[in-house]
Amino acid sequence: MSLLPLTFLLPLAGTLVLALSRGRLGPRSSAVVGVVSVGLAALVTAWIGWHFVDSGVGGVDMTLWTWLSVGDFRPTIGLRLDGLSLTMIGIITGVGFLIHLFAAWYMQGEAGVTRFFAFMNLFVFSMLLLVLGDNMLLLFLGWEGVGLCSYLLIGYYYWTEANGWAAFKAFIVTRLGDVFLAIGLFLMFRELGTLNIAEILQRAPEVWAEGAWQAQLAALLILGGALGKSAQLPLHTWLADAMAGPTPVSALIHAATMVTAGVYLIARLHGVFELAPGVLYLVGLIGAVTLLLAGFAALAQTDIKRVLAYSTMSQIGYMFLALGVGAYDAAIFHLMMHGFFKALLFLSAGAVIVSCHHEQDMRRLGGLWRRLPLAYAGFVVGGAALAALPLVTAGFYSKDEILWEALAAGHGGLMLAGLIGAFLTSLYTLRLIIGTFHGEMKSDNARHAEPGRGLVHGLPLVVLAVLSTFLGAWIHPPLEAVLPTSPGAGVHGAGHTVLGIVAAATSLVGLGLGAWLFLTRWRWLSERVSTGWAARLWWLWHNAWGFDIAYDRLLVRPYRGLVRLLESDLIDRLLLLAAWLAWGLHRGLSLTQSGKMRYYAATMAAGVTLVLLVLVVSG
C-alpha cells in the first residue's frame, strides 16, 4: 500500500520532466516519457488493486503531511484507498494509459508534443488526487487541477482563436459550478467542523436531521459543482465545444474520466445526499432531463465528435439518474463501462480523423468501412455497447441495472425517461456509424484515407473493444464496503427480467429503425429536415435546444456591456473631479495674474475702498 503515492507521483514526474525540458526533448522522447509514466502508474495501480482486494480490508488511509493547521482547520494531504477510489484510479490509469498510448500515434507530426504530454500527465496526476484525496480540500485541488488541464488541452490548438474561446468557456462554466462547490465546503466546515470525507459522512447524520435545511443546502451546493464538471443541465453547454481539443483529450478527459468526476463526488458524499432526499431526487431528475435533451441534440449533429460529446452528456445523465434513485454502485458501474466504450468510440473517431486528414464532419465522410477496418470495428463494438445491444455488450448490463434500480426505487418516470433515452441512443449511434462508414465517400479527404498502422495505434483499440463487450461487464468493482446498498440489490424478481426484455427490445427496435432509416432513407431524411417545422426542430436540436444562445443573451452580453461600461474606471473618474476642480480654480485665479499693471492698481484701490467702506459702515 505504501506505493500508493507512486500512482500520482509518476505522472507528476512525467509532467515535471516534460515541463522543465525546455524543448530539449524531441517529440518521440516526449511521447515515451508521457506514456511510460502513466503506464508505470497503471502497473502500480494494478499491483495495489491486487493487494487491496486480496487483503479484504475496507479502506486504507494514508496521511502524507498536514497541509496546514490553523485552529480547527487542519486539512491534510492524505489519501484514502477504498473500493470506490480503487475503481476510479483503475479507470484513470488503465484507460488513461491506453489513451496515452494511442495519443502517441495520434500526435505524430503535431507541433508541441511535449506540451501535450506534459498536460496529459498533469491531468492524470490531478485526476488521481481528486479521487484519492481523503478530504474535500484535496479533492478540490484535484477538481480544479483537472479543470485547468481540460482548459489547456481544449485550447491545445491555440492558433485557432475559437479553440481558445471553447477552452475558456469550458473552464468558466465548470468554474461556476466549482464556486458552488466551494461555498458548499464552507457550509460543511462550519456545520460539521471538518473537511475529512470520512468524518463528514460520519458526522453528517449526527448533526443534521434528515431533510434539515443545512443538509439540503450543502447537498444542493455540492450538486452545483457536480453539474458543472459533469456537464449536466444547466451547466452542460461547455462539453460540446470542448471537442476542439485533440481527440485523445476528448477520450480521456471529456468522456472517460473528468466529466464523470461529478458522479464520483456525489457517490463519495452519498451520506450528505441521503440526508437531503429532495436534492437526491433532483439529481435523478436532472440526469433524466439531460439524457433526453442531449439524446435529441446528438441526433442532429454532423460533427462526429460532437455526436459523441452529446452522447457523453446523455450517458452521464444515466449515471445521475442512477445516483438520484440511490443506486450509487450502478452509477459507478456504468461510469466504468462508459469509460471503456466511450474511450473506444473517441479513439476510433480519432483514428478516422487522422486517417482522413483531420476531417471530422459526417457530411464529408462516408463509405470508410472498407478502408479503415480497425476503426470501423471499434465504432461497431463501441456503438453497440453505447446502444446497449443485449447480452453481448458491456453497456447493456450497466444500463439495464440502472433502469431496474430506478424501477425498484419507485421512480417509474425516471425509468421511462431512461428507456426513451435508450431508444434515442440506438438511433444516433447508428446514424453516426452509417454516416461515417457507409454510403458513398463524400470528399477527397475520405477518398484518400490512410489507415493507421502499428501496435501503438492498434493495441488501445483492441483492448478497449474487448473491454466494451460482455467481458468488460465481468469486472466487478468492489464497492460494497463503500457505498450503501441500492434499492434493487438482491431483488431478482420477474420484474427485472421483464424490464430487461423491454430494454433489450427498445434498443433493438431503435437499432432496427435506425438501420432502416439511415441505410435506405438517408437522402429523404436530409431533405425532410431542411424545410418546414422539421427544419426548425432540427435547428433547435442542432443547437442543443438553444442553451448557448440563451446564455449568450442573458449572461455573456450583459457582462460584456457591464465591462464596457466600466472600462474607463468610472469611480476613478469621479475622484478626478477633485482634480478638475483644482484645475478650474487654477485657471480662474491665473486669469487675475494678467501682468497688466492697471488692473493690479485698480484691484488694490478697490480692495482699499472695500476695507474703508466696511470700516465706515461698521464704525
Binding site: 485552529g71 464552507f186 472600462e567
Partner: protein, 514 residues
C-alpha cells in the same frame, strides 16, 4: 541593533550604488543585488534562530510581545523614539521585501540602461523605507518611513517609467500616485496626532509609542474618527475601491521593478498597517466599521475584476487584478477570525509572488515585443520558448488554482469568514469566478489565437529562467506546505484576533500559555 541594520543596509547600499556608477554600469547592479541578498540572509537568519511561536512570559507576568526590540530616544520632548520591534508578521513581510528586492534588481538588469546608479538608489531606498515601515512601532517613526517610501517611488515612475497611451504619461502617473498617497498619509498624521493628544490629555505626557497609545481610553466617536484616518490612509495604499485610482496608472507606467515592488510589497504595507495599527489601536471602532469595510472589500473584488476584463494594456489588467485580490484581504482582515487573519497573511505573501511573477512576465514580454497592448499580441504560445508556461502558471496562481499559495490564502479567508458573515463570503466567492474570467482572458489575448508573425522571440536566458523558477517553486511550496509560514505569524495574528474580539489581550495570552 540587528533591526537597525536591517533598515540601514538598503539605505547605505543605495548610496553605494549611486556612487558605484563611476566604476561602470554593472557595479550598481551587483551592489544592489548584494545588498538585498544581505537583507534576505539576515532575515532568514532571524527566522531560523528566533522564536516566533507564542509570546513568552517574563517573571512579572507581562507578556513580551516582540521577538526582538530596539529603542533609542529621538525627540524626547515629544516622546518620540526610534523604536523598532520584530514579530512573526513583520519578519515574514521583511523576508518578502528582501526576496522581491532581489527580483526587482534582477528583472531590471537589462531593462534599465540609463542612470543605473540613481535607479538603484531609488529602488533600495524604497525597500529600506518598507523595511522601516514593517519594523517601526513608534507611530511617528512609522509615519516617517511611510512617507519616506513615496519619494523614491515617485522618481522611479517618473524617470524610468513607460509612457502609456494617450494622456497617460509616466509623470502624470507618478504625480497621481504621489498625491493620492501623500494626501492619505496626511490624514493618518492627523489621526496619529489626535491619538497622541488624547493620550496627552489622559496621562499628561507626550508619547508616540505603540504600547502606550494602545492603552489610551477613547470615546466612541473619537475612536471612530481616528480609526477612519488610519483606515483611509491604508485604504488608499491597499487599495480599496473608491480610492484605487492611482494604482492602475502607477503600475502600468512604472518600470518592471517598480511594478514588482508596488504590487509585491507596497500594497502589503497597507494590510500590515491595518493589522498592526488600525485594528489593535481601535478594536471597538474597527469592529463597528467591519461591515462597511467588508462591503468595500466586496466592491473591490467585483469592480477590480470587471475592470480587469476591459483592459487592453497587459499591466493595467494585472493592476486591476491586484485590486480584486486586495478585496479578499480586506474582508479577511475585518472578519478577524484567526483562520481569516492567517489567510490574509497567506494571501499577501501569495499575491506578492504571483503579481510579481505576472509583472515580470509582462516585463519580459515587453522586452521582446516592445508593446504591452494585448491587441498586438496573440498566438504567442509557440513563439516565446518557456515564457508562456510561466505566464500560465502565474495566471493560474492568480485565479486561485489549488496547489498555489493564492488558493490557500483565499480559501482560508473565506473559510474563516464564513461562520461570521456567510453572505459576504458567498458573494466574495463569486469573485473566484470572475478571477477565472480575467485570468483566462489574459491567456486568451496574449498566448492564444492566430500568431501575428512567424519569427520566434528569444527564449528566457538563465537569469530570467532562474527568477521565474524560484517564484514558481515558492508559490507551490507555500501552496502545499505553508505551515512554517503560518507558525511564524500565528502568534501575531492570534493577538490581533483577540484584540479584535475585544478580549483583554494580556490576560488571555497568559491564560493561553498556562
Amino acid at each position: 541593533m540587528t533591526l537597525l541594520w536591517l533598515i540601514l543596509i538598503p539605505f547605505i547600499g543605495g548610496l553605494l550604488c549611486w556612487q558605484g556608477e563611476r566604476f561602470g554600469e554593472q557595479a550598481p547592479r551587483w551592489i544592489a543585488l548584494g545588498t538585498m541578498l544581505m537583507v534576505l540572509a539576515i532575515t532568514l537568519g532571524l527566522w531560523f534562530y528566533g522564536d516566533y511561536h507564542l509570546p513568552s512570559l517574563d517573571p512579572q507576568g507581562e507578556a513580551v510581545r516582540w521577538t526582538m526590540e530596539w529603542q533609542v530616544a529621538w525627540i524626547p520632548r515629544f516622546g518620540i523614539s526610534i523604536h523598532l520591534a520584530l514579530d512573526g508578521l513583520s519578519l515574514v513581510l521583511i523576508a518578502l521585501t528582501g526576496f522581491l528586492g532581489i527580483l526587482a534588481v534582477l528583472c531590471s538588469w537589462h531593462e534599465i540602461v540609463h542612470r543605473v546608479g540613481f535607479f538603484h538608489l531609488n529602488l533600495l531606498w524604497i525597500l529600506g523605507g518598507v523595511v522601516g515601515v514593517f519594523l517601526a512601532i513608534d507611530l511617528f517613526l512609522f509615519f516617517f518611513f511611510w512617507e519616506m517610501m513615496l519619494v523614491p517611488m515617485y522618481f522611479l515612475i517618473a524617470l524610468w517609467g513607460h509612457s502609456g497611451s494617450k494622456g497617460r504619461t509616466r509623470i502624470r502617473a507618478a504625480t497621481k500616485f504621489f498625491i493620492y498617497t501623500q494626501a492619505s498619509g496626511l490624514l493618518m498624521l492627523v489621526s496619529i496626532l489626535g491619538l497622541v493628544f488624547a493620550n496627552l490629555a489622559h496621562t499628561g505626557e507626550y508619547s508616540f509609542d505603540y504600547a502606550t497609545l494602545m492603552q489610551t481610553p477613547l470615546s466612541d466617536g473619537l475612536a471612530m474618527w481616528l480609526m477612519l484616518g488610519f483606515f483611509i490612509a491604508f485604504a488608499v495604499k491597499l487599495p480599496v475601491v473608491p480610492l484605487h485610482g492611482w494604482l492602475p496608472d502607477a503600475h502600468a507606467q512604472a518600470p518592471t521593478a517598480g511594478s514588482v515592488d508596488l504590487a509585491g510589497i507596497l500594497l502589503k504595507t497597507a494590510a500590515y498597517g491595518m493589522l498592526r495599527f488600525a485594528l489593535p489601536l481601535f478594536p471597538e471602532a474597527s469592529q463597528a466599521f467591519a461591515p462597511v469595510a467588508m462591503g468595500l472589500g466586496l466592491l473591490g473584488i467585483y469592480y477590480g475584476a470587471l475592470l480587469a476584463c476591459g483592459q487592453q494594456d497587459l499591466k493595467r489588467l494585472i493592476a486591476y487584478t491586484s485590486i480584486s485580490h486586495m478585496g479578499f484581504v480586506l474582508i479577511g482582515i475585518y472578519a478577524g477570525t484567526e483562520l481569516a487573519l492567517q489567510g490574509v497573511v497567506m494571501l499577501m505573501v501569495a499575491h506578492a509572488f504571483s503579481a510579481a511573477g505576472l509583472f515580470i512576465v509582462s516585463g519580459q514580454l515587453y522586452e521582446r515585443l516592445h508593446t504591452r497592448d494585448m491587441r498586438e499580441m496573440g498566438g504567442l504560445w509557440g513563439r516565446l520558448g518557456s515564457l508562456p508556461g510561466f505566464s500560465l502558471f502565474f495566471v493560474a496562481a492568480s485565479l486561485g488554482m489549488p496547489g498555489t499559495a493564492n488558493f490557500l490564502g483565499e480559501m482560508m479567508i473565506l473559510f474563516g469568514a464564513f461562520p461570521l458573515v456567510p453572505w459576504v463570503v458567498v458573494l466574495a466567492s463569486g469573485g473566484l469566478l470572475l478571477a477565472a474570467i480575467y485570468s483566462l482572458l489574459l491567456m486568451q489575448r496574449v498566448h492564444f489565437g492566430p500568431p501575428q508573425g512567424k519569427e520566434h522571440f528569444a527564449d528566457l536566458d538563465r537569469r530570467e529562467y532562474l527568477m521565474m523558477l524560484t517564484l514558481t517553486g515558492l508559490v507551490l511550496l507555500f501552496g502545499l506546505y505553508p505551515q512554517p509560514l503560518l507558525d511564524t505569524t500565528g502568534a501575531a495574528m492570534l493577538e490581533v484576533q483577540q484584540l479584535f474580539e475585544g478580549v483583554a489581550p494580556l490576560s488571555s495570552l497568559a491564560k493561553g500559555n498556562q
